[in-house]
């Protein structure tokens, strides 16, 4: 089975956000594999363990993303592809076109991605890609079983659980609960250094600037207003409960 995983490097979820010169500052920031993509990597490795085959992790991003790809190799992926080119805009339209140009050249049985990235949070790229590749897809999966050229998946739709059957090749996005990602092992880290690592740019993909011209752009960034600590209620718990209800009624007019 030929499995491809879409992977993005993101800020560690512990990081506070600092805006400097109109951009989000990356100074001293710790980067990780986007948590949802980590579930996708883990699921790919499990599929390979069950069915055999090959796992390739693919990322579009700056050079620093190589680190996240190496982590995935150390977890057990076989090959990594970093598509890095300063001319690639961060618009989701452009990113999906770039990924499609790469995936058109390979024959994937399964493509896995994350449900969304915890930085941009737009949840577009993987689903756009499915459409561009004319692959059926199921997003937000919490269980994935493959047999006889078909996948049976459980999909989380706002709390409802849908069981869906889909013919391969197909694309899936991983939701929390799908699995528990493994840590890279020490031998894994050693082996990762010898695994194939491909670097591609727009010219290798045969894409022109016009073909990836962005459809949207960021104009500005801002931080939300800081929340102030409010009031800790005092007295007997029963009094506090009554006070809370009356505060919500009178001061806040919320009830």
């Amino acid at each position: 089975m030929n499995i491809f995983v879409l992977l993005k490097q993101t800020f560690d979820t512990e990081e506070k956000i600092v805006i400097q010169d109109g951009e989000i500052s990356e100074d001293g920031v710790k980067f990780i594999i986007n948590p949802y993509d980590e579930y996708a990597v883990e699921e790919a490795l499990r599929l390979k363990e069950l069915h055999g085959g090959q796992v390739t992790v693919v990322s579009v991003g700056p050079q620093r993303s190589a680190e996240a790809l190496r982590t995935a190799l150390a977890m057990g992926a076989d090959e990594a592809v970093l598509i890095s080119d300063e001319r690639i805009p961060s618009d989701e339209y452009s990113l999906s076109v770039v990924l499609a140009a790469y995936l058109h050249k390979v024959s994937a049985d399964v493509v896995l991605g994350g449900n969304f990235s915890v930085d941009q949070g737009s949840g577009q790229v993987a689903v756009r890609l499915a459409r561009l590749l004319n692959l059926p897809h199921v997003s937000s999966v919490t269980k994935l079983e493959i047999a006889d050229g078909k996948a049976k998946v459980l999909r989380d739709a706002e709390g409802d659980a849908e069981t869906i059957e889909v013919a391969l090749p197909a694309l899936f996005t991983a939701q929390q609960g799908l699995n528990e990602p493994r840590y890279p092992s020490l031998p894994g880290i050693m082996k990762a250094k010898k695994k194939p690592f491909h670097q591609l740019g727009l010219s290798e993909l045969g894409l022109s600037d016009a073909e990836i011209a962005p459809r949207t752009e960021r104009i500005s960034l801002s931080l939300p207003p800081q929340r102030q600590a409010g009031q800790i209620l005092q007295g007997e718990l029963k009094e506090q409960a009554a006070q809370l209800v009356s505060l919500l009624r009178s001061d806040a007019k919320a009830i």
Binding site: T13, K16, I17, I24, Y36, E92, V118, D119, Q120, G121, S122, G123, V127, R128, A130, R131, L132, P136, H137, V138, S139, D156, A157, E158, G159, D160, A161, T163, I164, E165, V166, A170, Q176, P214, R215, T216, E217, I219, S220, L221, L223, R227, A229, G230, Q231, I232, L233, L237, K238, Q240, A241, L244, V245, S246, L247, L248, R249, A252, A254, I255
Partner: protein, 324 residues
């Protein structure tokens, strides 16, 4: 020339979702004098929600009503919608940032080679330019984006844009025939509607959330009772989900749902940065925690230091009296 906006509406348990009216308002904020706003509704047994929708749009309500469309399925919905959209030639398509909207919008965007701005919380007009505000890093920052060219697709986050008011005269309702796609590759085998009948978490005005402090699945009971009295929804921290006290579908935070209710009641939640990312834009935050040093108190409007198993039933009782 007047332009056409299409809102893709959605029903849940037979009811039109509130976010549809917010999406219509979003279209209105984007549109100019003389532009038309229509709705497109898919599902089964839609006469009631369709006539409800018709009161809010200046254009028409396009309906695809068929048993095959009872549940959202990417392939069937997409193949049913695209011909209708192609005939309507909208300049913009607006959806709710719901399970359906999140899945459908990027497919339509890919099909129409359109830009998409997801999870919009506000729209500003700056002269002729439209700016769309959306959270990044789960609300640790906000970005303002604009479209460069081509058709526009936006999804709006529930509870942020005010719902549309009724329009002058009801719009015309137009039924479209549904034909199943040839070569269907996906099928729905089963749907367990765990959440139906309950208030939807993303749209709830009041959210009662539990953390590891609830200690067990059973421990969510008092929270469910409080939510019921308030007509709200129950949410959770990842701590509670990881511990198996509740379903991941309830998780609020950076890797869960982002909610913006009027009132958020955090019970037995410490207030980790990843949790705050998902709820700190709520109107009023109430924290109940037995640890006075818990970080959640630093952002809460009202805090009660105490055992949630004692405090939550007391609050429930007070609300029950107050709302009687």
């Amino acid at each position: 020339m007047s332009k056409h906006y299409v809102v893709i509406a959605e029903v849940r348990s037979g009811q039109l979702r509130q976010v549809c009216l917010e999406a219509i308002e979003a279209a209105r904020l984007t549109a100019e004098e003389g532009d038309r706003i229509s709705a497109l509704l898919l599902g089964h047994n839609l006469s009631e929600p369709a006539s409800q929708l018709s009161r809010y749009v200046s254009g028409q309500v396009h309906v695809l009503d068929h048993p095959d469309l009872e549940h959202y399925l990417a392939e069937t919905y997409c193949s049913a919608i695209i011909p209708v959209l192609e005939s309507l030639e909208p300049c913009a398509i607006v959806l709710g940032h719901t399970a359906m909207g999140r899945d459908l919008a990027p497919m339509l965007a890919a099909h129409f080679q359109a830009g998409q701005i997801s999870d919009v919380t506000a729209i500003h007009r700056n002269g002729s330019e439209l700016l769309f505000t959306r959270p990044v890093y789960a609300g640790k920052a906000f970005e303002q984006k604009r479209f460069i060219n081509g058709p526009h697709i936006i999804t709006v986050r529930p509870n942020n844009i005010p719902p549309a008011a009724e329009a002058g005269s009801p719009g015309e309702i137009i039924q479209h025939a549904y034909t199943a796609p040839v070569n269907l590759r996906t099928i729905i085998k089963d749907v367990i509607t765990k959440a139906s009948g309950r208030v939807d978490l993303a749209e709830a005005q009041i959210v009662v959330s539990g953390g590891r402090g609830v200690k067990s699945a059973e421990g969510f009971k008092p929270l469910e009772q409080l939510a019921e009295v308030l007509g709200g929804a129950v949410g959770a921290s990842r701590g509670a989900c990881d511990a198996g006290y509740c379903d991941y579908a309830l998780q609020i935070g950076q890797t869960g749902k982002v909610v913006t209710p009027q009132i958020y009641i955090a019970c037995g939640i410490s207030g980790a940065i990843q949790h705050l990312a998902g709820m700190s834009h709520s109107g009023i935050i109430i924290a109940i925690n037995k640890d006075p040093e818990a970080p959640i108190f630093r952002i809460a409007d009202y805090g009660i230091v105490g055992d949630l198993f004692e405090v939550v039933p007391l609050i429930t009782e007070e609300f029950r009296k107050a709302l009687a």
